[in-house]
């Protein structure tokens, strides 16, 4: 697969981007992170997180002017999380945290800081941490600058003194009562490796580079109020820190400007869906400062910003604990394995390719497209597990064989303005409705309505068998040409999308649009105001017209429509998509269950497979044709779902019946062992259904064994155990002959070929 293409998709995922509180903070404190710890009552860990970004934390943490709060996503009607009160609480309750620091090796470089205000202290602090020896020159008799003017209730002067003593203990030299004039600056500049001016006032004007804080004099940097032009504590902190980074780079002759785009405040690109979030009012500290409990409760109001819209919508991503970024990484690794197991094959084959992730993603990353490409790549490298899609592909082969395929002009006509293409699954579940629909179309439409029974190639597409899909499409194209390129009327939305995307110049219409336009057949029963939740098929995600037609038909029949949370372009998969129904049945059932829970009302579906899967899971579901042609009784909403074997025999039956009743032709297909009568109990029926064993397989095993006597027998109970290998699977059947039929005791299969002794 094209690695570049994959990697570029990975970059589009915005979920890793920091939340607005973090980007708005000039020094990018991990606000979301420390709040997360407070929620757990872990103030010491919160302190560790805060300290990672915040210098001089025990002071700054108490006086920060918190520009973050204004940008917090919860800041509606003044209810933003009290981030500043929380950081105060972290300083108060968490500062006892033990923090291991590795002593930085001393650097033989000297830096002068002029002015012991906030920016000067921060610059000195940061450079001291990097190993520099730093001297602070202060004109007053104590350092602290504007910190000293804070009300005592906010910042106790005693605390400042304690923290300043700590600075001295760390090795910062503080020279008090030293006024630095421009002349003195010249001497200092010569004496030191670099100089920082953070004095708040300076009687000479100089230009300061916004990014680097460097002045016109190469060795001299500036920060604080003279640069920021405001009283913001945290902005002053940022200028001091920024200058410290520049000074460090300057001293070591590195680029001052490289990779500095994200220093200081910037706008977060993370998008957070607040639609369903309820923001409770701010918690006010009863005694001026949060108690631990108050802090925890306020932290619990934080929504912990993330995008993950895809993960929240998709049960596959949830189950695999992957977001697109991690998923793409996993695919990349899986693609590159040379020796060892392709551990992600099952994951890749468990995506339903429904495209919901792409529909909800703010940057339109559609995992379905990536998974499709990945499966194609796996097939082309011969790394697609053989068993994954074998059954579905054989089923497709069957559907496109003489057993089902049928291409005809309307009886009595030699050309077709239209051709009806009911699709393989509708024909397998609702053969009766297919006949009725075809008759309806012939009655309503002029110019001849041909009939085309077959498979659109969806299984090959889902399985990543591009060649097989292409040749199947090519064959359909030729057959349509032979019919005179009629307008194709599809019932199935997968056929609709496959034809629309892959057959150039095709004219295509959904059956539901025809019903909507031409009116419903007489005799359709009224819904009497019954409410149905519409389940749009995932392949109609972008087909607004089809979605509308379905709703119009239901409303015309007097049903009320409920739109589930995930509907229309955001519809969910029923569990069949991407052939997950065959490759990972257990998960397919979870997908079905996940969809069912979206409404307590009965469902209305318009894809036969969606309908069948919901009913199998016990959800009452009407197919749109149940509304049009059904008895009007409730039973049809949980009508028995055909087994895999029924599906095949229903398709054969449909072809036979249509040929007979409309064209007066007899279908002569006889399978050697088809007439063998077998009896299968329900428990075994469920087992063979799960293991994809067909009645036809069982009959052939018995037929062959009865003919050749190649089998084993158990004299105690008269059971026979026989086997036969068909193509790449060996089927085993344990049975007992009772009169003229065979009771099936057990059936199983394996792919490994036993070569004999």
């Amino acid at each position: 697969m094209d690695l570049e293409k994959l990697l570029s998709m990975q970059k589009l995922c915005i979920n890793d981007n920091p939340a607005a509180c973090v980007t708005e903070c000039p020094i990018h404190v991990d606000v979301k992170g420390f709040i997360c710890e407070i929620r757990k009552g872990n103030f010491e860990e919160a302190y560790r997180i805060l300290k990672k970004r915040m210098p001089f934390i025990n002071v700054i943490g108490l006086v920060c002017d918190h520009p973050c709060e204004a940008l917090c996503v919860t800041n509606t009607s003044g209810n933003a999380i009290s981030i500043h009160e929380l950081e105060k609480a972290v300083v108060i309750y968490g500062s006892i945290a033990k923090i291991k620091t590795l002593p930085m090796p001393k650097v033989d470089k000297k830096i002068a800081v002029i002015g012991g205000g906030i920016s000067g202290i921060i610059c000195a602090y940061d450079l001291n941490q990097k190993g520099y020896s730093v001297d602070i020159y202060e004109k007053e008799n104590e350092i602290g600058g504007s910190l000293l003017n804070m009300p005592e209730i906010i910042l106790n002067p005693k605390l400042i003194k304690e923290e300043i003593i700590k600075l001295e203990e760390q090795g910062i030299e503080i020279k008090l009562n030293q006024e630095i004039t421009p002349e003195k600056l010249k001497d200092i500049t010569l004496e030191y490796d670099a100089v920082f001016i953070g004095s708040g006032e300076w009687n000479e004007k100089f230009n300061v580079d916004e990014v680097t804080m460097q002045t016109d004099t190469e060795k001299v940097f500036a920060g604080g109020r003279i640069v920021s032009g405001c009283e913001s504590v945290i902005q002053s902190v940022q200028t001091g820190r920024c200058a410290a980074v520049s000074i460090d780079r300057f001293v070591y002759k590195k680029s001052l400007t490289a990779l500095r785009e994200k220093e200081g405040s910037y706008k977060s690109i993370l998008k957070v869906d607040m639609e369903n979030e309820k923001i409770s009012p701010r918690i006010k500290p009863e005694n001026g400062t949060f108690t631990k409990e108050e802090a925890i409760n306020d932290a619990l109001r934080c929504v912990q910003c993330e995008c993950h819209k895809c993960v929240k919508a998709c049960v596959h991503l949830q189950k695999e604990k992957l977001d697109p970024k991690a998923y793409i990484r996993t695919i990349n690794q899986n693609e590159r394995i040379i020796l060892g197991d392709h551990y992600a094959n099952k994951t890749i084959n468990s995506c339903t390719e429904c495209g919901l992730c792409g529909a909800v993603c703010p940057t339109s990353i559609n995992m379905a497209d990536i998974i499709k490409e990945t499966r194609i790549s796996m097939v082309s490298r011969n790394k697609m597990p053989l068993s994954a899609h074998d059954f579905a592909l054989k089923d497709m082969e069957f559907t496109n064989s003489k057993y089902f395929e049928l291409i005809k002009h309307q009886p009595g006509k030699n050309n077709s303005k239209y051709v009806f293409y009911p699709g393989c699954q509708l024909s397998a579940t609702y053969s009766e409705y297919v006949i009725k629909t075809y008759n309806y179309l012939m009655e309503k439409l002029d110019g001849g309505v041909g009939l085309y029974l077959g498979c659109c190639g969806a299984p090959a597409k889902w399985a990543g068998r591009q060649e097989q899909f292409d040749s199947s499409i090519e064959k359909i194209k030729l057959n349509l040409e032979k019919l005179g390129n009629p307008i194709v009327i599809t019932a199935c939305s997968t056929c609709f999308s496959n034809f629309g995307e892959n057959l150039k110049n095709i004219r295509i219409k959904s059956l539901w649009d025809i019903f909507d336009e031409k009116g419903l057949p007489l005799g359709a029963k009224s819904g009497n105001g019954k409410i149905l939740a519409v389940h749009d098929a995932c392949t109609t995600r972008n087909e607004k017209g089809i979605q509308e037609s379905i709703r119009n038909i239901a409303k015309r029949l007097n049903y009320k429509i409920e739109e589930p949370e995930f509907t229309k372009k955001n519809t969910k998969c029923c569990g069949y998509g991407g052939l997950v129904y065959y490759t990972n049945k257990e998960f397919s059932r979870e997908v079905t269950q996940d969809r069912i829970k979206d409404s307590g009302n009965d469902f209305l579906a318009y894809c036969a497979m969606c309908r069948d899967l919901f009913v199998l899971k016990g959800k009452k579901t009407y197919h749109i044709l149940d509304l049009i042609y059904g008895s009007g009784k409730e039973e049809i909403s949980d009508m028995k779902v055909p087994t895999l074997s029924d599906r095949r025999s229903n398709r054969i039956k449909l072809k036979k019946e249509l040929l007979d009743s409309l064209w007066g032709e007899k279908m002569e297909i006889k399978d050697e062992y088809n007439d063998i009568k077998i009896v299968i109990g329900q428990e075994l029926r469920n087992k063979i259904e799960d293991e994809l064993i067909l009645d036809g397989d069982i009959k052939r095993v018995i037929g062959y064994a009865e003919k050749t006597n190649d089998s084993f027998y158990n004299p105690e109970n008269g059971h026979i155990l026989a086997w036969k290998r068909f193509v790449n699977i060996t089927f085993w059947v344990e049975y007992k002959k009772v009169n003229d039929s065979f009771n099936i005791i057990n059936a199983y299969s394996h792919r490994m070929e036993v070569k004999g002794v």
Partner: protein, 69 residues
């Protein structure tokens, strides 16, 4: 891979010759991987019996792991 036949005599007999089955080494192959397994077979007719336990157990595991290679 081994079929667990120990301690129990097979209840199955060969339909063709009526004889009892015996355990013996049998060759099996999947996706280019070759194995020798101890399986029940008719020593005369050479028919080999695979139980469900083996097919759905170890054999399936080996098939899956070969498919993911």
């Amino acid at each position: 891979m081994k079929q667990n036949n120990k301690g129990k005599k097979s209840k199955w007999f060969c339909s063709k010759c009526g004889g009892p089955l015996e355990e013996g080494p049998v060759k099996a192959e999947y996706l280019g991987g070759n194995f020798e397994i101890e399986l029940l077979e008719c020593p005369k007719c050479k028919n080999v019996l695979i139980t469900q336990e083996l097919a759905a157990g170890q054999m399936l595991e080996v098939e899956k792991s070969l498919e993911d290679k």
